[in-house]
Amino acid sequence: MDIHINGKKYKAVQGETILEVAVKNGIKIPTLCYHSDLCLAGNCRICVVDVDGAKTLQASCTAMASNGMKIWTNTPKVIKARKMNIQLLLGSHFGECYTCPRNSNCELLKLAEEHGIEELPFPKKSKRTRELEITPSLTRDPDKCIMCGRCVRTCEELQGVHAVKPIGRSNDVRIETFFGQGLMHTSCTMCGQCINRCPTGALYETSCIQPVWDALADPDKYVVVQTAPAVRAALGEEFGMEPGTRVTGKMVAALRKLGFNKIFDTQFTADLTIIEEGTEFLTRLKRTLVGKEKGLLPMTTSCSPGWVKYIEHFYPDLLTHVSTCKSPQQMFGPLAKTYFAEKEGINPSKMLTVSIMPCVAKKYEADRPEMNASGYKDVDYVLTTRELAKMMKTAGLDLKDMPVEEYDNPFGISTGAAVIFGATGGVMEAALRTVYEIVTGREVPFKNLDITPVRGMEDVKEAEITIEGVTAEYKFLEGAKVRVAVAHSLGAAKKVMDKVKSGEADYHFIEIMACPGGCLGGGGQPIPTSPEIRKARARAIYEEDESMAIRKSHDNPAIKKLYEDFLEKPNSHKAHELLHTHYLKRKRFDKVK
């Protein structure tokens, strides 16, 4: 069908919104509550357009294109109304931009600038009316909320968590948790996906920047840093680089300039996770197939703390299915404060471990009371990708100008299998590369080790690998068809877990990441996010894998040495003490006080 926009004819398909047709044809209509990851709300009334024959202006994000429709996107009437709605939002927004964590990346501020808003026709909100809510992972500033509802839609549709809803009416309406008890008393998984979609500074990570500066400045402290795989595929965006730019070596250089004593890589413990988790998986397979035990399979991954908290709240009866392996971040902490500290003769009480994560749930994870296997808090501070960028900017370091440097040894040595932890399907692919080889003595039967069926952005991916030609030790697996599933976003996790719960699923191994796209789409990553941006980051991750000299975790020489020198063997008693954990059955929300 044909529609007319600003007097020109365009093709449209049934079911397309006016906005979609406009975007497709390079016509910009300003939006605010609209987000490419979420369902349509039509709340903010910024994207309004004039449609011939309609009494009122139409929200282009929700109004469907229809044949012969005549649309005007920039008439004086439209611009005046749009401007007024921006002014109305600004009027009730507590805009102390100079102290706002989003002051250089605020969609409301950008709209105000684009529409030339120089003053408001009414008095502006100048005082705080609500308190900040501060959790270990995220901070909510209700005074900056403009009620676009993106966080609610993210939490409901994308994540299926339903931790927040609008309550109250009229100008008293606000986003709240169940009975206003606060996020820590609900099923909030701390994934931080709401942060990535918040247009203003109403949601952001609870910052650890200051204590990290303090630690770096303290001559008495030995500060080691670990960087998660997904950070290197996104940090560049904070410095104006295209999404998907790989900045690993430059990031290492910047961290060294910031003054960290050792620059280590979470990928080292990602490789370790594969060995521990792969071994655990084989044990579970044996106990199930040979020992006929129940409740051990499918085994799910445990790297994503948002996912772990989700299953604790939503499927507490299925916790035995979750791998007991700690996440790579939490394997790193105790190893740094035991193995590495011993080796280097550093007093672990003087050591601080900082991690750079694409994630805000990692902050919560580091604070979990059981995470002190070293006898100290295993991971002291977690910084998001965004926080690292801020620290670099404070220190006058532009990533673009950084030289390319190498990680320190021994925890800087890693493989391609560890890099891909950053993308959905990556843990599964890395595990299969190793497990298949352990069992058969041969490489996985995929060209160039690329297990493509578990890659890509489909929300649930399934694959099957037939195991043939096993070694004597794994006779019980000869001819077995290992079925795996990969889910990213908690909404996708629900799809898979419902099947597990009902017994309908016949998977053996499931990878679940709380965030869309996996860690590369994490709640601590640069804002904005979109399907395209996540695809670009994934491309960078797989390129990095390709570029690595070693691409299988079990070939990592530093990991082999770690077992020889310290852990003895996979799943050993010592490994269990330091690298494995347990989970908590939680309720959906706490009892109302």
């Binding site: 349509l40 039509g42 709340n43 903010c44 009334r45 910024i46 309004v48 009494k55 009122t56 202006l57 929200a59 929700t62 109004a63 469907m64 009437k77 005046k80 109304a81 007024m84 709605n85 109305l88 939002l89 009027g91 009730s92 026709p121 009414f122 403009i146 009620m147 509802g149 809803k165 609008p166 109250g168 009416r169 009229s170 100008n171 008293d172 309406v173």
Partner: protein, 386 residues
């Protein structure tokens, strides 16, 4: 013009329904279309067209919803209907259900009318006993039943999409249209939502024909309208008028004296001064869902403004920007008007906000919420600004 008087009269129950069963469905739709019956809740959408659209929607599950959320300030005619002739409403719903092919009807009853629920349920029980509801109604192979659902007190839930959200157990907020409820309503199924009074008209039209109905009223406003008259009148109450009645004639009927202003359409309506009492109550001139509030010369217009704007400050659902953020400035403005502190610039700004609310609010609530303020400002400038 004399009161026409049939809506509130009892009818022989089931007569119209029996008749409907003898005519085919398309024919009933045509009769209702031809009668010119329009929705009595205020919006005035042609009922026959709604029936046609919902009937044509392809789905095995459809709903008939009676909007009894009578929340407009100053209207109480639906309450009177439900107190006196609920069986007529139910019969109208049943005929509608038969026409569109629905098996389930729901009366969305205003929370404040909860006290009516048990009596309404008794009537439904009686109708089931008489085989006017339930399985195989009157042996004609058609099954339909009705249940009562209670609202929780939000004005916006009178808006059909918000009402449907509320029925689904969600927060009452207007949804994007399209899709309209006739194609995708309650739980995603085609849903015909009509006002209590609209359903009351249906048995009469089926029984007596569209010509009979068309002969009442004026122009495109056919039939009669129940009007709730309140305020400074000697005889407040529910009046049934034929469309086209002049405001001044209604005032006379109700015994209004020294009238200064009349609010037509409740909080969302307009307030007219004496000069305009010649105007007619009709879809063409001043449409109304049924609320008429009369103010005599002792009333201060700023108080009336304040009352209505505070109402909207309370009742905006808070979902869309213009309605949520705009309303409070009007409440502030009334204060300024009362203190004689309002400036020309203020009034210009308020009109700009009002224009924006009218054309960009997501639903009728925000689009209409400054009507009272602006019409009082326009019609009583001297009193307010001198």
């Amino acid at each position: 013009m004399p009161a026409a008087g049939f809506i509130l009269e009892k009818i022989k129950q089931g007569e119209a329904l029996k008749k409907a069963f003898e005519i085919n469905r398309a024919e009933i739709t045509d009769i209702i279309k031809d009668s010119g019956l329009k929705g009595r809740g205020g919006a005035g959408f042609p009922t026959g067209l709604k029936m046609y659209l919902c009937g044509a929607a392809a789905d095995t599950v459809k709903y008939v919803v009676c909007n009894a959320d009578e929340g407009e300030p100053g209207t109480f005619k639906d309450r009177v209907i439900l107190e006196t002739i609920p069986e007529k409403v139910f019969e109208g719903m049943t005929i509608t259900a038969y026409v569109i092919g629905s098996r389930e009807g729901i009366v969305y009853l205003r929370g404040e009318y909860a006290y009516l629920k048990s009596e309404l349920e008794n009537v439904l029980k009686e109708m089931r006993k008489n085989n006017m509801l339930g399985e195989n109604i009157l042996g004609k192979g058609f099954s339909f039943d009705i249940r009562i659902a209670l609202g929780a007190g939000a004005y916006v839930c009178g808006e059909e999409t918000a009402l449907i959200e509320s029925l689904e157990g969600k927060r009452g907020e207007a949804k994007n249209k399209p899709p309209f409820p006739v194609s995708s309503g309650l739980f995603g199924h085609p849903t015909l939502v009509s006002n209590v009074e609209t359903f009351c008209n249906i048995p009469h039209i089926v029984d007596k024909g569209s010509l009979w109905f068309k002969n009442m009223g004026s122009g495109k406003s056919t039939g009669t309208k129940l009007i709730s008259v309140s305020g400074d009148v000697k005889k407040p109450g529910v009046y049934e008028i034929t469309f086209g009645m002049k405001v001044k004639d209604l005032l006379k009927l109700a015994g209004a004296e020294e009238t200064k202003a009349v609010d037509i359409g409740g909080a969302s309506g307009i307030i007219i001064p004496e000069l305009q009492f010649e105007r007619e109550i009709s879809f063409e001139d001043i449409p109304t869902g049924g609320s008429i509030i009369v103010f005599d010369k002792t009333r201060k217009m700023a108080d009336i403004m304040e009352n209505f704007m505070e109402f909207f400050l309370d009742e905006s659902c808070g979902q869309c920007t213009p309605c949520r953020e705009g309303t409070k400035y009007f409440v502030d403005a009334v204060e300024k008007i009362k203190n004689r502190k309002i400036t020309e610039q203020d009034l210009k700004n308020l009109r700009d906000i009002s224009d924006c609310m009218k054309i960009t609010s997501k639903c009728g609530l925000g689009q209409a919420s400054t009507n009272a303020f602006i019409s009082i400002l326009d019609n009583f400038k001297d009193e307010l600004l001198s």
